[in-house]
Subunit: 473 residues, 4 copies
């Protein structure tokens, strides 16, 4: 056997289905051996007492996106990938967001320009289609799918992004023909506009009212509608950031019908509730928790947990969408104080996703370590065409590893985080289990909360076909 | 006891819950006695061997409506009410259809002008809202509800009628405030447009393809959406002409959640299938069966029957929408030959609803006579604010009676019918059970298939609040 | 028209489907006219301002039954029918309970002997089969069904009554062949014995533990089992006293499969909870609320109400099973103090069923007056073969009427009741709506809380076939 | 790195979650390396073009069991393990069946005596409890669980095996306390006895009537009952050989409630139907297909497939229960000709399980190779406490490997099989995919359909706690 660049020795290696005490041998950025007693390494990391997990794949993050007039997300590619690496991730999947009136190809190039040379870990773009013109549907999308952008997201709400039903159907039809995966943000535009105006007319404008403006029935309806459209067209569907029991039951129902419908959920739907948006006293401090869909009830949390345990959810992502407190709270964005409608929507979560889910899920005995790996890494790679290069620990895969201390107790605080936001919604949240070393393609990129890699290490990944589109996969 | 203008003697009187052998005494158009051995009548009709039912109330008929360029429905108020009377009905509820750019009040007046002096039995208009302008929502609708037009229908499809989601919500919101009942035609416009164009592009233009252009998933999605909107607004909903198992399951699900959602179905969904649209050989003769939603499968028929038996459906209507064969087949309407899209949508059914349902339901033992009465008369009156004046046989109610021969065998043929259409989709359909005398407000208006009343006998009925809007009703 | 023995004038006459302001004319114990302005009566009762309802039919009462060693129920036929009459009922259906080792015919005769000459209102016996011998199955049951005992009840628990699965199947098979209706007490014997012994072993013997000894899963399992047996045999089933959401969902599921499964519930499952069995401080005073199935949670109450509103339940009965406090509490029955297992099971309710249900249902707007009539009278008569003689107000029916004051406020107290029990579980329960006159076959048997009839007025009713066994009925 | 006894080189290594092209290094019967380019092996097997799967674990086989008077199963441990090895298995789990009147410890010893020295691959016994005496429940079971017999099976039918509900509860309670897993054969004894006698009375005695004697409702009821008992006691449950949509829906329902209920199915429920029992013309040749539960309909097959795809089933086993044709057909067992009741119940399947499932599942694109591995090996090991030693390919695990040719076409015929039965129900069944080499603890035990190992190679495995009993596992 050839020598190794790196050996991770003596850890408990965990995949989506297995655990084994063994060494991991790395050569040229790939895993070349899983074995007992590996020797001959340039560098050896002692993983005794630690778990060796596939590096996290976060398939739902927003980086360097504009978000309304004058506001850009608080993370660029450098800070986002730094935070991700420190949080135990080795791949993130941000969006290239088409602004109306712009082409898709130029959109992609613009995002590549922002990313180029700045990423510490690997990235791969999903597309967001906001303008389904004939050129987009007929030329640009097919060409981009062939070039490895094999997933795109559509929105059923937001003034600047919403697609009408006809456009949804057309985009899905392209996905069917080109073998790409459609992701959908399922909230109904007209319904929540209706509710928003009703609340505003009643003077209910504090951040708290963000929640009541988009009750679960609005998410449920849009979910049913998206599922129906995908069924009509005959293409798989990934419903992202499912937040409520009602929406989840639509997913379950679809699966029971044999439809290829998949779902994602996020930490905010397991740990936050509508009450967090009250802030101190129905004041602007609630703006820190404004995201869409909104956090709901403890009953919804219980339902989402049950769905995770029973396999309703395929992926667990962050939906990282970081803002600065001055923006959400309105200091730099005075409109936000006039109505919840203008508070930027989104939470920072790229760095805290894994510890929160591990602690609440594995440490509390709700899910197994293998389920954790599947939900945070392997299934992302499979769903989005990165497998087997990414998402697992196997001979031949990229050497993307996170060394995890399952017993370490930590308290989440803004001061220990590396993201661009200037607050975390989980300030003071205590967890058991923490990533201690992150290795991306054989290089240690983060260790003990410190960055050790370089911005240029990460590259963009062209992707293959989603497992959702391959029979028996 | 005072004398009677009319006594119907010796029949089996059947209501939605009871049956009793007794005489019915009528004075001044009202029922004043149900008793044994009534005497002292100006006229006595011997009903021995017959069933005495409340006159049919058909809450879903289209009369004298325009339907696309140059085509008007084949029935005016004279012929429609004549046919209805001969078919055992004493009240019909047509629509006053708002054309875009026109006000509601002028619409109502125009329909009243068409009806005035021409009706043989009583009529009462629902409104169709196709243009939900601020004036309609803010002034006209509230005023018309107060004037007794307590129900309105909205369409989720058809180029000239479709309301977008925001308008649906606004109309429902007016209904909630004004205590009116919203009826919905639940098929999704964009989805079926998408399917239609796809089929046309494949050269699939014969009437048969009308069915595949609007599969059950499109009805199911729109049903779920309408239910969700009504739930969001907080108002009851009547889903008309439910045709498929899939849509019906949405209704059942809504009811199980405790939502005030009601449903109607029609003879075509119990007796016709998609195959009827094939015609002789995928030719234009299939156009006779083009209606929306389209007839589906025998499995759907079984599901709808089960729903009827188990109480999922509140009303059984005709959705009478009569055309001339030359129009549907394309002789006078050449566009119909270019695509199913241009075939006028609708079937004549005002005269055959009761015999078909009685024969398939009561004579075949699927439902009881009492259920028949509830589904064809009483529940219509309750749902649309005509009860207790209409829809039952009780002291004080209008003397609207149908004498029914439960054993009479008849074959439905165009030549015995009185409607304005020049064909019936049920040509040759054999039934057991037939209406032999129809009495409207104490007057015999039809007898043995002959009209005996006069066009001026029927009046328009202002209506009260739907039972769906009254607690515990 | 002949004259009348009695006219009830000016009330609001309510049936299962209708209401009408009219007079009711009675001759020879039967209703012969419903009309305006009836004259010529020997006696006229002014019902202005009152509702005229069909007299209550209580199809589930226990009278003069033994219940364990040395204890007999607190009501004989005289007191039970007196209480029933004062509570607005005109027919009750007690059980003739076969004791093991005894024949059915002798059982029936013994109960007739107890009843004869003592009943103030009509009665009709169901049979309880506790010993399904070949003679019972082969000769006695068929003969008794032919003689008008067209329903029998089987128990899945209780030491002295439980039938094993084979016997349940055999009894159901006789019911199928002879066209009788099977009623089932659905709780699993072995399971609750197991739980009882476990609790006793833990020293949990107070009346409160009666509830935990038979959790809803035990009722649910037995319900599913009974439904399955009936499905296998091919015969309808009436599941009596359904108490829990879990059991009710089995009924709903069975109905959705198209199975002829029916259900009954009772006041205790709408108004009492497991906490009532705590008594003052887990003491013997909780014994007043011991019945089976036990009162459950407020969530179960809500589910049962939803089931009532949505038509899951066909009948609402009392399951009257009265004891003296000294018996349940253990003064005269010391064993009761050693374990909840020995506390006699049952509550008195024959006199309070109608006011409680009217008040909680009609007065609070959950159900309509028509639903109240259906659930408390008409459906009982239909299900048990007494219709159309009993259960409605129609020409030709027995003149069984209850004059009801819908606005009268009353507080239930033992001192105003006529039953044989010396307490009521609803002591202090405030209601709106109260029966003021009860008329049985044309005779006033109770008025303003006073008995006015005589013990001999009531007779035993032979019954016809259940509507559950007639197609389309 | 140390040298290897064996290297399997160049195959596609597949686990329950992953696939990787790599070599497998084996030392002392264990896997010590998964790597590229392993050298230094005593023996190298070239697996190029083959898949390397974990050896099959068949957790439901009957070996050397008596089955009614005078009949013993057609396989002893030698032939059963030989057939299993040739069929690609490396571990089988037979039953030690307690006969009534015998102790459990003596039962176990008797089966060990039959197995000792005769097994070619590893075995581990489940217990069958047919006599739940206090000694069994109180002493023997707890001791045996501690000794590694951590699962036991109970029967709800069969004259000699059936446990009543109380015994089921008591056995489950021991399982809960001792942390063992209960497996249940869910068919209702009384119900099928009732049906059997009814059919026999009608002269319906041919093997075909075996199916109608135990319709799906009987399996469904018993499944619901077993689930309820396990829920009451608070212990996990494995429902074995689920055959029908109806029973499967009970499992799904239980899972949706969050209950730890698991399910197994078998090849016969995917490939055979009730019609196979017709034989040539309702003759004894149908006896070859008599097993319990019986093969059902193609709709049930579709439901079971959907359940497999959606994760309802945890394990896929053979339920191997081999007989000689003379026994089932009645030549040596004349009673079998008098009624289906006496035909021995069971099919041989130990050798054909994997090829049938691979071909119908993986080759036809219904499931992925990873799902195949999970359902045929990994999940068995997890559920029954053999993991991580068995059921996967990981460093440290036993070197149990099956080299599989995914493209090889083969036709199942009795003449190529090694089991003790003298027929196979799948005679002539064509498959794609076939095991070509079986390696047990590092030794090649079968190759190209020939046995290469020795009877003594297999040992008995004491087991740990089921994953069903470990939180988050």
């Amino acid at each position: 056997m050839a020598e190794f660049d790196l050996v991770v020795a003596g850890g408990e290696v965990i995949t989506a289905s297995d655990r084994a005490r063994c060494d991991v041998g790395v050569k040229d950025g790939r895993i070349t051996a899983l074995a007992e007693g590996l020797t001959g390494a340039a560098r050896t990391i002692d993983a005794a007492g630690l778990w060796v997990l596939p590096g996290g794949v976060d398939s739902h993050v927003h980086i360097a996106q504009p978000s309304g007039p004058g506001i850009t997300m608080a993370d660029d590619f450098a800070s986002a990938t730094a935070a991700a690496a420190c949080g135990g991730n080795t791949t993130v999947m941000p969006f290239a967001l088409q602004e109306r009136g712009h082409g898709l190809r130029e959109t992609v190039e613009a995002y590549h320009a922002k990313a180029k040379g700045n990423c510490r870990i690997d990235v791969s773009f999903h597309l967001i289609i906001s303008d389904a013109t004939p050129a987009v549907l007929g030329q640009e999308l097919p060409a981009l799918v062939k070039a490895g952008y094999t997933s795109f997201k559509v929105f059923m709400t937001y003034d600047d992004l919403v697609l009408d039903d006809r456009s949804l159907l057309e985009v899905m039809d392209v996905a069917r023909r080109e073998r790409a995966l459609v992701m959908v943000h399922a909230e109904g535009y007209d319904s929540l506009k209706f509710m928003t105006e009703r609340l505003e007319a009643e003077g209910k404008t504090a951040p708290y009212w963000h929640g009541p403006s988009r009750p679960d029935v609005i998410e449920r309806e849009a979910t049913h509608r998206a599922v129906s459209h995908a069924q009509l067209v005959g293409t798989p569907l990934m419903v992202v950031h499912v937040s409520s029991r009602a929406a989840m039951e639509q997913i379950q129902w679809a699966k029971a019908q044999g439809l290829p419908v998949f779902a994602e959920t996020c930490p905010q739907y397991l740990t936050l509730t509508a009450d967090d948006l009250r802030g101190l006293e129905m004041d602007m401090t609630g703006a820190k928790y404004v995201c869409s869909p909104p956090p709901r009830t403890t009953d919804d949390q219980a339902a989402i947990w049950a769905g995770i345990e029973q396999g309703v959810f395929t992926t667990f992502s962050s939906d990282h969408a970081p803002f600065r407190y001055d923006d959400v709270e309105g200091k730099l964005n005075p409109k936000a104080r006039t109505s919840f409608r203008w508070v930027p929507n989104g939470l920072p979560g790229i760095e805290t996703r894994l510890p929160i889910f591990f602690s609440e899920g594995v440490s509390k005995g709700r899910i197994s370590p293998e389920q954790f790996v599947a939900l945070t890494a392997t299934n992302h790679a499979r769903m989005y065409g990165l497998y087997p290069k990414k998402g697992t620990i196997a001979v031949g895969a990229d050497a993307d590893l996170t060394l995890w201390d399952p017993h370490r107790r930590e308290t989440i605080r803004q001061e220990i985080l590396h993201h661009g936001a200037d607050y975390t919604p989980w300030e003071g949240f205590a967890v058991t289990g923490w990533p201690v070393v992150t290795i991306a393609r054989g290089e240690v990129v983060a260790e003990a909360g410190r960055l050790t890699g370089t911005p240029g290490h990460g590259t963009h990944l062209a992707r293959g076909v989603s497992s959702a589109l391959r029979a028996g996969a």
